[in-house]
């Protein structure tokens, strides 16, 4: 009985001792991209601290917005390397968490499947709330408010607003603190569905002032059947009709 247990324990110990092992410096990397950065790149460094080579079977990012790159397919004992994860920021804001699933040929399942996490905290230059206001057809055309708050790293002093649909009036008023404004949007009439994109133009940075958009529309009235409903007539073209600064998507 004792011999059997001893043999069993020894075989487990030997299997563990002979295994290949990728040691990762960090499994989670937190990045703080600067305002205006298009990408955030994380370098996940590893070393094979085992006695057998490790081969990457697959390296997959959880999101189409993240691409990965492995330096080598097989990592020999003692070798170091890294997996690079490039996160394309696009129009994302806030805390973003993207994962990279790494599969190796390590016989130990706990080592064969590794999840690498890239966190990126993206501060929006301007907090716009809400980004969309609407009235239902026939509703009283009361003004609706949108608040703007510039980030600390975005010291805009002034903003202007421009609608691409003359049927919507808008005005900007400074808020309680510096870097805060309130926009008031009012449709001239709500008798028929219509939409507009409002261009918020800032004065920062001086060489290429940044702009933002908010949307306003008068929607169709609720109907029991929507089969024969006409689509809302959008403004001539949104938001391209309003000249946007170069390089601004």
């Amino acid at each position: 009985m004792k011999t059997r247990i001893l043999t069993f324990s020894l075989s487990i110990l030997l299997a563990v001792a002979a295994r290949a092992e990728l040691k990762w410096e960090q499994n989670t990397i937190e990045l703080h991209p600067s305002m205006g950065d298009k990408q955030a790149v994380a370098h996940f460094k590893y070393q094979n601290t085992g006695t057998a080579p490790v081969r990457f079977k697959s390296v997959k990012a959880s999101c189409g917005c993240t691409t990965t790159q492995t330096q080598k397919e097989t990592v020999n004992p003692g070798e170091k390397g890294e997996i690079t994860a490039t996160f394309n920021i696009g129009d994302r804001t806030g805390m973003q968490m993207k994962t990279v699933n790494v599969q190796t040929d390590d016989p130990n399942p706990a080592q064969a499947n590794i999840v690498l996490t890239l966190k990126a905290d993206i501060t929006p230059a301007m907090e716009v709330k809400p980004m969309f206001v609407y009235w239902t057809s026939g509703e009283e055309p009361k003004p609706k408010k949108i608040s703007l708050k510039a980030a600390k790293e975005f010291p805009a002093k002034n903003v202007t607003i421009k609608s691409n649909n003359p049927n919507f009036e808008s005005k900007v008023e400074p808020g309680k603190s510096a870097g805060e404004w309130t926009i008031e949007v009012t449709p001239k009439d709500t008798s028929h569905p219509q939409a507009t994109s409002l261009l918020i133009q800032t004065d920062y940075p001086k060489e290429a002032p940044k702009s933002f958009y908010v949307n306003a529309q008068v929607t169709n009235p609720p109907q029991p059947s929507m089969m024969a409903r006409p689509p809302i007539q959008a403004a001539p073209a949104t938001p391209a009709a309003i000249p946007s600064p170069a390089g601004q998507r």
């Binding site: 989670t28 917005c65 994302r92 706990a110 939409a195 929507m226 809302i232």
Partner: protein, 142 residues
């Protein structure tokens, strides 16, 4: 004899459990914990289809995937080009319509993120995430 087998079994289970507990502790930081989408914000393909024209489909996948194939009538709204695509989507929305957002599969997060932005930033109500995403839709419809 019976007692001996039982004792042997228990010893083996304990021996097997020890490394498992150790590994679980060692790799605790490597597990990806993601908050699941509340059931009230999820919709199945069948439920979504039953809404018919009362629903509007939003494709949160990247442009190339949307261009290749999509739910008929779906609008592209991804976070790569959010500020450009949102004004194209909104004129097709109306308050009584439900919004169904989908991405590639069960495991993708894009639909959840887009749905959250539609609720938080555009303050739309009745925004749902399609359970299983595009994969589930294809299974039921192709």
């Amino acid at each position: 004899m019976k007692f001996s087998i039982l004792r042997e079994g228990l010893i083996l289970i304990a021996l097997a459990a020890l490394p498992a507990i150790g590994e679980g502790f060692y790799f605790r930081g490597k597990v990806s914990w993601q908050s699941p989408i509340p059931a009230s914000e999820l919709v199945t393909v069948d439920q979504a289809k039953s809404w018919g024209d009362g629903a509007i489909w939003v494709d949160a996948r990247p442009d190339e995937e949307f261009a290749a194939d999509r739910v008929p009538g779906a609008f592209s709204l991804n976070e790569d080009h959010w500020s450009e695509l949102l004004p194209q989507f909104l004129p097709n929305w109306s308050p009584e319509k439900k919004v169904i957002v989908y991405c590639s599969a069960e495991s993708c997060n894009a639909a959840r993120d887009v749905a959250k932005r539609l609720r938080d930033e555009a303050q739309l109500k009745g925004v749902f995430v399609l359970n299983g995403g595009w994969e589930a839709w294809v299974k039921k419809n192709r």
